[in-house]
């Protein structure tokens, strides 16, 4: 692939490497140092760092401010943007703001409904959805135009990403059709929902390869290590669109409490090894929320360290 932006992820992928990204959750306060701290924990083990955007509708320090801080630290951030909280004016405005600091990666999301979070009484916006946001970033980047028609010179140079959930409804074929739609809209990389149902994920990838999507879009497999059986059960029962087979829960439950975290990490590493051999996979997105300190271990034990360098 030819590179379209200065994005490090894009360059690594173009050079044929597997990309490794991870994410940090921002603090629920004005404490910018927490971002610095988390960024430093993982910076040598990943190619780029996402900062989540009021994830699960819980109000946190915004992704935009956090990614600017990471950029100023010399790291490669991925701005996450949901359409739940901002209309097209604010979305485009924030894209310009991020681009003005040289942010080169964006993940376009629709966003969890606000009933999940701590402000269920709020209005939601959803002026655009994730696919329309992808179209918008592409328009701004490739044509220097806003949705309203205004043209400008200094364009955002963003590598466009989105999420994909192979496990949500209505069925795997439609999730691949949706991926195709995102590709048509201009998406260049995908970070999937975290994977536990390997069979379903392989089916998703097979269909994606058949449709030629993996030529156009780099799919990074989402991996989240289980901390304990409580977390496994919670994700199995209480998180919509999450598919956690019973064998996975049983595996974590099958070891004593003090060993469950290690088992979770080991399992995650086994998953990475298995996924490496799936055709069409271009990397991994490791989501270890509030457990960022484990990311280096996972990356090393999965044979993904040291990270290749590009200029």
């Amino acid at each position: 692939m030819n590179v379209t932006t200065p994005s490090k992820i894009e360059k690594l992928l173009a050079a044929g490497h597997l990309a490794v990204t991870s994410e940090v959750g921002p603090p629920r306060s004005a404490d910018g140092h927490e971002i610095e701290h988390k960024g430093n924990l993982i910076k040598d083990h990943v190619d780029a760092i996402n900062v989540t955007d009021n994830q699960t509708s819980v109000c946190r320090l915004c992704s935009l401010a956090a990614v600017i801080r990471l950029k100023l630290m010399g790291l490669e951030p991925v701005l996450q943007m949901t359409t739940r909280d901002r209309n097209r004016i604010a979305l485009q405005s924030d894209i310009l703001g991020a681009a003005s600091f040289g942010i080169n990666n964006i993940l376009c999301l629709t966003g969890d409904h606000q009933h999940f979070g701590d402000h269920p009484k709020a209005v939601n916006v959803f002026d655009l959805d994730s696919i329309q946001l992808i179209q918008t970033v592409k328009l701004m980047r490739d044509e220097g135009r806003l949705l309203g028609g205004f043209e400008f010179q200094v364009k955002p140079q963003m590598f466009i990403g989105a999420a994909a959930n192979p496990f949500a409804g209505p069925n795997v074929e439609m999730r691949v059709a949706r991926l195709a739609k995102k590709a048509n809209a201009g998406v260049q990389f995908i970070q999937t929902q975290c994977i536990y149902n390997m069979d379903k994920f392989k089916e998703f990838m097979r269909l994606a390869v058949d449709r030629g999507l993996t030529e156009k879009v780099a799919i990074l497999a989402g991996i989240t290590p289980m901390k304990n059986v409580g977390m496994a059960r919670y994700m199995q029962k209480r998180v919509p669109g999450m598919d956690v087979p019973e064998e996975v829960v049983k595996r974590i439950a099958g070891v004593p409490k003090e060993k469950q975290a290690d088992e979770g990490i080991t399992f995650a590493i086994e998953q990475i090894e298995e996924i490496k051999s799936i055709p069409g996979i271009k990397g991994f997105h490791i989501m270890a929320i509030e457990w960022e300190e484990k990311v280096p271990e996972i990356v090393e034990r999965a044979g993904l360290y040291p990270r290749p360098q590009v200029n």
């Binding site: 999940f116 959805d129 329309q132 179209q135 669109g241």
Partner: protein, 222 residues
């Protein structure tokens, strides 16, 4: 039709407590159909308020009526001769009717007796669900007759999102996923190819976002 639910009785009591000549005005339209504000509910409210005031030892007049509609001036005009008998009116019409009544009789206190909710349909008696949000630019032809603005919690035009789980919305296991419904309908109609093309951002100017709305049909006016 417009769907509403009766306001809690204690709230209405708070509104009217200081007055002693009340008219309870229902509406034979939408609120009768969803059993929130028709003559039946007017009489129940009247009776409940009389029971309340009887204990306060306060003689009150609580009269009861129901108009054909409260959203048309011709019917509201029928109250003209009697409205001055009252200090306050509790209107059980939808928010439209309550306001229109208040506009016409603007020296009277008018209180809402229902909470107006949405435009919807009767799934069965006592179960009403939202179908339309009046966005002003109907796209039902493209979505197999299922509206994503009203029936998707995120009003996505390129759904479903990643929270769609076994046909249900992430907001609640009882809530059907609007895009699952669209998918099934398009499949039945043989139009699944509609899923492949991205739908552009919506022009919301014909919706509430464009400002207060008014329809002027010159073809209907002299």
């Amino acid at each position: 039709m417009i769907r509403a639910v009766p306001k809690p009785l204690e709230e209405i009591i708070q509104y009217v407590n200081d007055y002693d000549k009340l008219l309870i005005a229902g509406c034979d339209g939408c609120v009768t159909v969803c059993e929130a504000g028709g003559l039946k509910e007017v009489k129940i409210l009247g009776s409940a308020l009389r029971l309340h005031f009887a204990q306060a030892n306060k003689p009150v007049v609580i009269d009861e009526t129901s108009l054909t509609r409260q959203c048309d001036k011709e019917y509201l005009a029928q109250l003209r001769d009697s409205i001055d008998n009252y200090d306050a009116v509790v209107s059980l019409a939808c928010g439209c009717g309550i306001q229109f009544l208040a506009d016409m009789y603007d020296t009277k206190l008018v209180f809402p007796g229902v909470n107006t909710s949405f435009m919807g349909v009767t799934e069965e008696r006592g179960v009403y669900s939202e179908r339309c949000q009046g966005c002003g630019t109907c796209i039902l032809a493209e979505t197999g007759g299922v509206c994503p603005i009203a029936r998707c919690s995120k009003r996505m035009l390129n759904g479903p999102c990643g929270g769609s789980d076994k046909g249900k919305c992430e907001v609640s296991p009882e809530m059907p996923c609007g895009w699952q419904l669209i998918y099934e309908r398009l499949k039945t109609l043989g139009q699944l190819d509609r899923f492949e093309k991205p739908v552009d951002p919506k022009d919301w100017t014909s919706s509430r976002d464009g400002g207060i709305r008014k329809i002027v049909r010159e073809d209907l006016r002299i």
